[in-house]
């Protein structure tokens, strides 16, 4: 049988650096070294009886050696293994290591092992696993964005219906022929069916909802908030009239137009939602005001009603998705949520406050464009 090579040679062949503990910080490294050690050996280090402070080479060990000291002090034979760590060698390549505190008889050893094939395989599994989980996350967020879009489309479709139904209700009061009445009733029934359908669709979407696209609208296309508010108020006129509610625009003296950072169709929808809300809670013969105030960099818009006010228990969440204020049934409870995420996307803010004489004021502050 041939003579067995010394153990340190075998260990070095396994990429393991063997250090024997002298004191808490100092170790000796005798014999042979694994190949990788050349990249980390301190300048002027001599292998013969050379002393080493491993924690100065690998800061990771500063941490591990604290635990190892406790382990060695116990005086029990055995070993303790560190977690994996990665160092960048001077040539820029990443190397992975693991340390073992080992005790045998009265000798304490520190093994530092460079990890190769096994670690690389483990890394591949982690890499793949995390990539897949990221891809899954991305796909999921993509799907919810599509959902939101669809949701908004459906929500938009329901807007004009209120106007249509209001107009038809008023038409019914007119002096119509029998045939005319029948047609109006037919129209009303169809509009109600449609509204119902949309409500059902919205219900199925209640699950997930979040803010959609985030780019600021172009200031060059900034709409006039006053004109926008006026138009929406006009389209709601039939419904207002039906409920004997007066709607009016309230302007500061000498101001005829105020341009804001917003996108026109969505700003209209915000007016629509706030006005419909106000209408829903307004008493008969009450009035609803749309007021505008110019500030230095902002325009403050408020929709003011004379309703019962927002109840304190829903107030904190009123701008969250799917919260219904009070008991009168709204649509998806999405209107105010839409208003909030949209104004926030435009760099504005939204809120509500009780009015001094009773009623509620829902206000928006939008960036002003001069």
């Amino acid at each position: 049988m041939s003579k067995r090579p010394p153990y340190d040679e075998l260990m070095a062949a396994c990429s393991i650096l063997v250090l024997e503990r002298l004191s808490a910080a100092d170790f000796t490294a005798a014999g042979l070294f694994p190949d990788w050690f050349a990249a980390f050996a301190p300048a002027g280090f001599s292998p013969e009886g050379g002393r080493l402070r491993p924690a100065t080479i690998f800061p990771f060990l500063e941490y591990f050696l604290e635990d190892a000291e406790e382990f060695w002090a116990r005086g029990v034979d055995g070993k303790m293994v560190s977690g994996f760590w990665t160092e960048t060698a001077p040539d820029g390549a990443d190397m992975n290591f693991e340390a073992v505190a080992y005790r045998r008889g009265n000798s304490n050893f520190l093994f530092i092992r460079r990890l190769t094939t096994g670690f690389d395989r483990l890394h591949k599994v982690f890499q793949k696993g995390r990539e897949l989980s990221l891809a899954h996350e991305r796909l999921f967020s993509e799907i919810s964005k599509k959902d939101i879009l669809l949701h908004c489309i459906i929500h938009d479709m329901s807007g004009p219906l209120t106007g249509m139904m209001g107009a038809l209700e008023i038409a019914k009061q007119e002096n119509l022929s029998r045939r005319g009445k029948q047609l109006v009733d037919l129209g009303l029934a169809a509009a109600k069916r449609q509204a119902n359908l949309i409500n059902n669709l919205l219900d199925t979407f209640r699950e997930e909802f979040g803010p959609a696209d985030k780019t600021l609208p172009d200031p060059a296309q900034a709409p006039d908030a006053i004109a926008c508010g006026r138009e929406v108020l006009a389209t709601l006129q039939p419904s207002l009239a039906m409920h004997d509610i007066r709607g009016e625009v309230r302007l500061p003296p000498g101001v005829a137009s105020l341009r804001v950072i917003a996108e026109k169709s969505r700003l209209e929808r915000i007016f629509y939602n706030l006005l419909q809300n106000a209408m829903r809670f307004s008493p008969r013969l009450g009035s609803i005001g749309v007021s505008f105030q110019a500030e230095e960099d902002f325009v403050r818009i408020a929709v003011e009603d004379e309703g019962p006010g927002v109840s304190p228990d829903v107030a904190p969440q009123i701008f969250q998705k799917f919260v219904r204020g009070n008991c009168s049934g709204g649509k998806a409870g999405l209107g105010l949520f839409f208003c909030r995420i949209t104004t926030e996307q435009w760099g504005g803010s939204i809120g509500h406050e009780p009015r001094p004489g009773g009623g509620t004021s829902f206000w928006l502050r939008l960036k002003r464009v001069r």
Binding site: P59, T86, E87
Partner: protein, 166 residues
């Protein structure tokens, strides 16, 4: 020379390793190379007339494969809590990690980095969520490991805070 240990904490793939690479080597790669265990880097920062030797512990991100090993925070003078602005999930995770970190090392200085600022148009985090961090008294920075925006500044401000803290 002053020696300081800092840790990077956060969910996986938020950009911890990329931020360190940007800071230490001024490089960035789109390719994702996941960290297992902890990656150690060193960099010397000159703070006025003082030089500070930083040992940077880039801890593996937290995910379904395992939790952040909070024990590695031992001896850290400060940490960077990284959030991926494009991924909501990383926000909740960071809040959770921060609580565990505070339990481990107490109230050492830390900064919250909302990373991937170059993708701000795709951010999932809303202003309200970001403001809630400031409301907690956190120092929040928007960084990009890709463009390098605010990366060096963040490390410097953390180091400054660590020097004032000790």
């Amino acid at each position: 020379m002053i020696q300081k240990k800092i840790c990077l904490l956060g969910g996986h793939a938020v950009g911890k390793t990329s931020l360190v690479a940007r800071f230490v080597k001024s490089v960035f790669t789109e390719k994702y190379h996941t960290t297992i265990g902890v990656k150690i880097d060193k960099k010397t920062l000159s703070m006025g007339d003082r030089a500070v030797n930083l040992t940077i512990w880039d801890l593996a991100g937290e995910d379904e494969f395992g939790a952040v090993d909070i024990a590695y925070l031992r001896g850290a003078s400060g940490y960077l809590l990284v959030i991926d602005g494009t991924r909501r999930s990383s926000f909740d995770r960071a809040l959770n990690i921060q609580q565990r970190a505070e339990k481990k090392v107490g109230s050492v200085p830390f900064l919250a980095l909302i990373n991937k600022a170059d993708l701000a148009a795709e951010w999932e985090l809303t202003d309200t969520e970001l403001q809630s961090l400031t409301a907690l008294g956190w120092k929040v920075f928007h960084t990009s490991a890709k463009s390098g925006d605010a990366v060096e500044a963040a490390f410097k401000i953390l180091t400054e805070a660590m020097l004032n803290h000790s």
